[in-house]
Amino acid sequence: MTEFGNLVLSGLTSGAIYAVLAVCLALWFRVANMLNLAAGDFAMIGALGVDLLARVHGWNLGLAIVTVLAVIALIGLVYDLIVLRIAVDWGRAREGIVAIFFFTFALSFVLEGVAQQVFGTVVHAAPALWPGNALDLHGLHVQRAGLLVIGFAVLVGAGLALCLRFTLVGKAMAACGENAIGARIVGIDSRRFRRGIFVLTAVLAGTFGILGSPITGFVYNSGAGLSLSGVVAAAFAGFTRPGRAVLAGLAIGLLEAFLSGYVSTAYGETLLYGVLAAVMLFRPQLMGLPEVAH
């Protein structure tokens, strides 16, 4: 029973990581019809940035966090103003599938390259926000950072799902993704939404990096793998539904934990990807993916 409980906990923890990234991806896809493959890199910058300022340069932790998140927001803003503005507003992004994958993929390369120079190539983690050993509840090992991440994922996912369903802003966001020109005609500034949500999701990803880095540790190229797991989880939410993305992320994390725990420790990950690929190929309708024009 304890073993089962610990598996569930570890599954939920890694699932929460997928979930946060999936939410970031889904939210922005909903508005801009593009996948943010740099989301994982923003998480990496959050973790390593705070580590650099607080641990190496001895800044106050709170100040370091605020500074790093501000820098992340600035990177997102500048990227939107320069690249996305040209890409979307000049019509370059009309080549559907290319826009979906490759614009932010290039951003990810740049961010990794810069991080390699700034943070070096050694694994680090930001100082724990809730320091202390793992909590022990009747034999269940609960990592404090894990709890923070799970809480963050649920909070963000539920909040966004509610916001999308019940507020005018949420509906306006959905309208931007479904038909940007139509949205503009009825007075929704789809560009401002695209920019705002891109910055918001970058900051959310960065926050997750800071919260969760004691669990995983980060190095300059950790972002790509994180983004990929986010893409996979978001795919099972049709890329557009943040609430479902959280559930998909948690479910994938649990599946991974059970496969590693009960089937094969060494090949748990392999099995996980096998199952996910099989579902994608044989039951693509489960994902409810949008149709893409080429």
Binding site: I100, G113, T270
Partner: protein, 601 residues
């Protein structure tokens, strides 16, 4: 042919000129990658099949050569052939599963492939674990390391030339044209193209070229490691392809060499490689999606144009024989005008009780109608009456809930759209769907390729594209837009687009032509020209026109059908139609405005 020889020659000369130095090894490595990227240019760039599994097949080819050579003592060239063929078999097995999935699911699933494979290879002691496998013999061993490098490099360059030759011939054949259309499944099916087969062939081609690149890698680098399988390799390959030019074989080679050169050059560049690659990729996507290859082509064009006083008219300089107006192809069996049809031959189209519901809505409700022989048949009705759905049911784009569709005595109710198209059903769409990046002529030629049933491999040996282009030109002439043959479809007016689509529909000499609102958006004068054309076509084939312009329909159609709320409410000739109370009460009130606006001139 010329480009293939050019690539091979340039490669051989460069390999020799660099004299086995460090930069020679960079070049030879780039050639191995280039073999992979030209396969990706065909698969991803040209045909929009977004498969991200090339690194897996590249690793597979490399490891197969390494193991066959080091463990079993096979000579490298033989190992290479076996590795490529074996990867083709694996590619066919994997492809038969993955290419059935829709495009985005294919992309997402193949993105995952490298992860478990890399893990497995890294843990497998048989495959050399972390360190990989070393001590592989070179493709063509020499006395020293540098002479081995030069000789193997020459072989690699020749192989690259052969790949360019094969891929170039595929792209310039009718199969290449089908590939360009294979991502628009609806149009492809309407033209009788079996996309599932082309997609599988594409996947196998991409896999085999990736494995070949990997084998050449093993035979020139003489050591392989599990990195080859990884997503990092896949990402590098994608950057090479996109920066070089994803729609061009030469571009793919340029990209591979350029990126490999950057990676292998000074430490300053090498340490900032990720940033440089990211910026290059962004710049290409933003400013020239065609990549470096397209930039070079544009520059060459600009240079040429400065030389000539006027911009050259591309029209007719390729010289497909231009036939004057008249029936498109005398050599084709076209069912003649109604009278010529021998008695006792089955009617062109019989629909019996066709029904289709969408949820609670019955869009088409037990519609029975008959199109006995060539001629013009009109279907009209208010918006939402089920007219387009009825056309889809006849063309096979939608599944029937009940009823039968019989074409020339053949029950095709359970046939796919592509099969019906091959039997002689052609159609146009309400929204015009034409291929970008291909000329108007090729957009029409794709409909009359005799090669729908040939294999991709055969296209390497023989191209039937010129023949198809001739027929396409005749069809364009027939609808009066031959002067647009070499235009980019994106620059056509709406009338031009509709006429091109019409030419595409009639190019294959169909027996049944289904037109969905051909006159919508056209002016009065344009409608007049359309009416004339349709009357002419009605002499040769059965033309079923869905249209809101009642006056146009009544003036040309020999028989009219009125569909209201999914039910067939009227059937008769033009005089009955004009006198009908139903038409006056139900239709004129609803769409009289549209009819008045479209007075044929």
């Amino acid at each position: 042919m010329a480009s293939a020889v050019g690539v091979a020659l340039a490669g051989v000369i460069a390999v020799i000129a660099l004299q086995g130095t460090y930069y020679d090894s960079v070049l030879v490595l780039a050639i191995a990658y280039a073999i992979v990227t030209i396969g990706m240019a065909v698969q991803i760039g040209y045909s929009n099949q977004l498969a991200f599994s090339q690194s897996v097949f590249m690793g597979m080819g490399a490891y197969a050569v390494a193991i066959l050579n080091t463990r079993y003592g096979w000579p490298v060239p033989l190992a290479l052939v076996v590795a490529v063929l074996g990867s083709g078999v694996v590619g066919a097995a994997v492809g038969s599963v993955v290419t059935r999935a829709p495009g985005l699911a294919l992309a997402l699933a193949t993105v995952l492939f490298p992860i478990p494979v890399t893990t497995y290879v890294t843990y497998s002691t048989y495959l050399g674990g972390y360190t990989g496998i070393g001590g592989i013999e070179p493709l063509w061993a020499g006395d020293s390391a540098s002479s081995s490098l030069i000789q193997s490099g020459i072989v690699a360059a020749l192989i690259l030339g052969l790949c360019v030759l094969a891929c170039g011939r595929i792209l310039r054949s009718g199969v290449g044209l089908e590939l360009a259309l294979s991502s628009d499944e609806r149009t492809a099916a309407a033209l009788g193209i079996l996309t599932s087969r082309r997609k599988l062939e594409l996947f196998v081609l991409g896999s085999m070229l990736a494995a070949l690149g990997g084998s050449v890698f093993a035979g020139t680098q003489v050591v392989v490691s599990s990195d080859l399988f990884s997503q990092t390799t896949e990402l590098t390959l994608l950057v090479m392809l996109f920066v070089g030019g994803r729609r061009s074989l030469i571009g793919a080679i340029v990209g591979a060499i350029g990126i490999q050169y950057l990676a292998g050059s000074t430490t300053l560049v090498n340490t900032h490689l990720l940033v440089i690659e990211g910026v290059l990729l962004t710049a290409v996507l933003l400013f020239e999606p065609g990549g470096l290859a397209q930039i070079a082509v544009n520059a060459a064009h600009a240079f040429q144009q400065r030389g000539t006083s006027q911009h050259p008219t591309a029209l007719d300089d390729r010289g497909p024989s231009v036939r004057p107006t008249g029936p498109p192809r005398p050599d084709q069996v076209v069912p003649g005008p109604g009278g010529r049809r021998p008695e006792g031959v089955a009617p062109t189209l019989v629909c019996q009780g066709l029904s289709r519901r969408f949820g609670g809505l019955v869009a088409v409700d037990a519609v029975s109608l008959e199109v006995p022989r060539p001629g013009l048949y009109g279907i009209c009705g208010p918006n939402g009456a089920g007219k387009s759905t009825l056309l889809e049911l006849i063309a096979g784009g939608l599944r029937l809930d009940a009823g039968r569709v019989v074409l020339e005595g053949q029950d095709v109710s359970h046939w796919s759209a592509a099969e019906r198209a091959q039997l002689g059903v052609a159609r146009t769409f309400q929204m015009v769907r034409l291929m970008r990046h291909r000329s108007v002529l090729d957009n029409v030629a794709v409909a009359c390729l005799p090669s729908h049933r040939t294999t991709m491999a055969r296209a390497i040996a023989r191209s039937d594209l010129e023949q198809a282009r001739e027929r396409a030109h005749a069809a364009l002439t027939r609808v009066g837009v031959a002067h647009l043959a070499h235009t980019d479809p994106g620059r056509l007016t709406l009338e031009g687009q509709r006429m091109v689509e019409m030419a595409r529909a009639i190019a294959a000499a169909p027996r049944l032509l289904l037109l969905d609102e051909p006159a919508s958006g056209l002016s009065g004068a344009q409608r007049g020209r359309l009416a004339e054309l349709l009357s002419g076509l009605g002499e040769e084939m059965a033309v079923v026109v869905v249209e809101h312009d009642l006056e146009l329909l009544a003036s040309i159609a020999s028989r009219l059908f009125v569909l209201i709320q999914g039910r067939l409410r009227f059937e008769g000739d033009a005089d009955d139609f004009r006198r009908s109370d139903l038409v006056r009460t139900e239709l004129m009130g609803l769409i009289g405005g549209a009819a008045a606006a479209g007075e044929p001139g």
